[in-house]
């Protein structure tokens, strides 16, 4: 079983590396959104520091939503997905493998990049750490939740918007706690509460999202 998980993971990572550009698209988007704001707003450090948690987290949410469309459509279009559904392997594992790969490709670079982004907004060391941790907890949850939407809209006209429309309400709690944690740390309040909640959301998402995704995939592949 672990074998299969590893195989799917490696497959998707290899594919991502082959295309190279895909690895960067989310990261690039994230960096652009975050960095363009100071450009539009102007260089007042106080304003910047104040809006930093919101900006960074909104950017993270959006770039994660962006990348979702690709999660299953490519496999769907070339017929690889139906082969997966027919494989004598627990589909749960396959979904988990694909989502993990997706997170490694799109989420991790973003997490690693975030301190640099935070610096642009003049965040303190502690706030940067909290930002990094909150993204580390939040982005996998976003990927897991997003997978449901991606699976539901597979092959539908206008998949792109639909994904966003379906996934957005589901991911807003992650956004709120993520931004909340950083804000709390910036303003000197305790950020633990928010981080615990994010952990809880992540665990819940890990348990239920792959199941829902699987059900959605079966519906969509018909």
């Amino acid at each position: 079983m672990f074998e299969v998980y590893r195989a799917i993971l490696m497959r998707d990572l290899t594919l991502a590396l082959r295309r190279r550009s895909d690895v960067f698209i989310t990261l690039f988007f994230f960096v652009v959104v975050v960095s363009l704001f100071p450009l539009g707003i102007g260089p007042e450090m106080d304003t910047l520091r104040m809006i930093a948690p919101g900006v960074v987290w909104v950017a993270a949410l959006l770039s994660s939503m962006l990348a979702l469309e690709r999660l299953f459509t490519v496999d769907f279009d070339d017929g690889a997905l139906e082969q997966m559904l027919l494989a004598p392997q627990p589909m749960f594992i396959l979904v988990l493998g694909k989502v993990t790969a997706h997170w490694l490709i799109t989420g991790i670079p973003l997490v690693l990049m975030s301190p640099l982004m935070g610096l642009q907004y003049d965040l303190s060391g502690n706030a940067l750490l909290v930002l990094l941790v909150s993204l580390l907890l939040g982005t996998p949850a976003l990927s897991l939740i997003g997978a449901i939407g991606a699976a539901l809209t597979l092959g539908l006209r206008g998949g792109g918007v639909l994904v966003s429309l379906l996934v957005l309400p589901l991911s807003i709690p992650v956004l709120i706690f993520g931004a909340g944690a950083v804000e709390a740390s910036v303003s000197g309040l305790g950020e633990q509460g928010h981080l615990y909640m994010m952990g809880a959301i992540l665990v819940l998402a890990l348990l239920f999202a792959p199941l829902a995704t699987l059900a959605a995939l079966r519906i969509s592949a018909e």
């Binding site: 074998e3 299969v4 070339d78 017929g79 139906e82 396959l94």
Partner: protein
């Protein structure tokens, strides 16, 4: 043994077929006939469990395929209109990932062998993207050589293949049937599969899609 009982399939608001029943025993080949759009693909996907039929049952070894989960999948290979290979992976990689999913892990030299048998010598390590139409199909079909499933469901497997490859694939199918395998197959080309005592099934008596 595969048993299809009183199957009915709807597409949109169109009833493609209804009350369809047949049995397939080991060592038998079922050749589906039918005009374009008569529902051959739909039937095959239903038999594989990709589409839920609107009525009727599909039994594998006496048990409904929707109730037994992976057991049925382990005995099944489906090759459809779409190749299901990744454009950015080369032949070897494509074949190996398929085999992991099929639960019949093969090592690299086995993969090279299978591709060579399928006539892809010299193209094994090109990304599928640059392969010709027929070469892509060959990569897909190489799975049949590495897999040990009992039931093969092949939807127009001969498309895009040149004559030599068609010949070879036919012999592969004949061998499988001779060894007690089962095959459901459709093709619009003339084929020579007599050694498998093919059953014939004609879909779409309604005369849809005449020319």
């Amino acid at each position: 043994m595969l048993e299809v009982v009183e199957l009915e399939c709807m597409r949109g608001d169109r009833r493609l077929f209804t009350g369809l029943s047949f049995k397939l025993e080991p060592g038998e080949l079922l050749h589906l006939h039918g005009r374009n759009g008569s529902g051959k693909t739909t039937l095959m996907r239903t038999v594989c469990g990709l589409i839920r039929p609107s009525a009727g049952e599909i039994l594998w070894d006496g048990e409904g395929i929707w109730d037994q989960g992976d057991d049925f999948n382990r005995d099944l290979v489906y090759i459809g209109h779409k190749n299901g290979i990744k454009d950015d992976l080369n032949g070897i990689e494509n074949l190996r990932i398929c085999s992991v999913l099929d639960g019949v892990q093969i090592n690299e030299s086995q993969a090279w062998d299978a591709l060579e048998k399928m006539g892809l010598r010299g193209h094994e390590d090109l990304p599928a993207r640059v392969l010709s139409q027929g070469q892509k199909r060959r990569v897909t079909l190489a799975r049949l050589l590495t897999h040990d499933a009992k039931l093969w469901v092949l939807d127009e497997p001969f498309t895009a293949l040149d004559k030599a490859a068609v010949e070879f694939l036919q012999s592969v199918i004949r061998d499988h049937v001779a060894n007690g395998g089962m095959v459901i197959l459709t093709t619009h080309q003339e084929v020579n599969l007599t050694r498998g005592h093919p059953k014939q099934l004609q879909l779409g008596w309604k005369g849809e899609g005449d020319v």
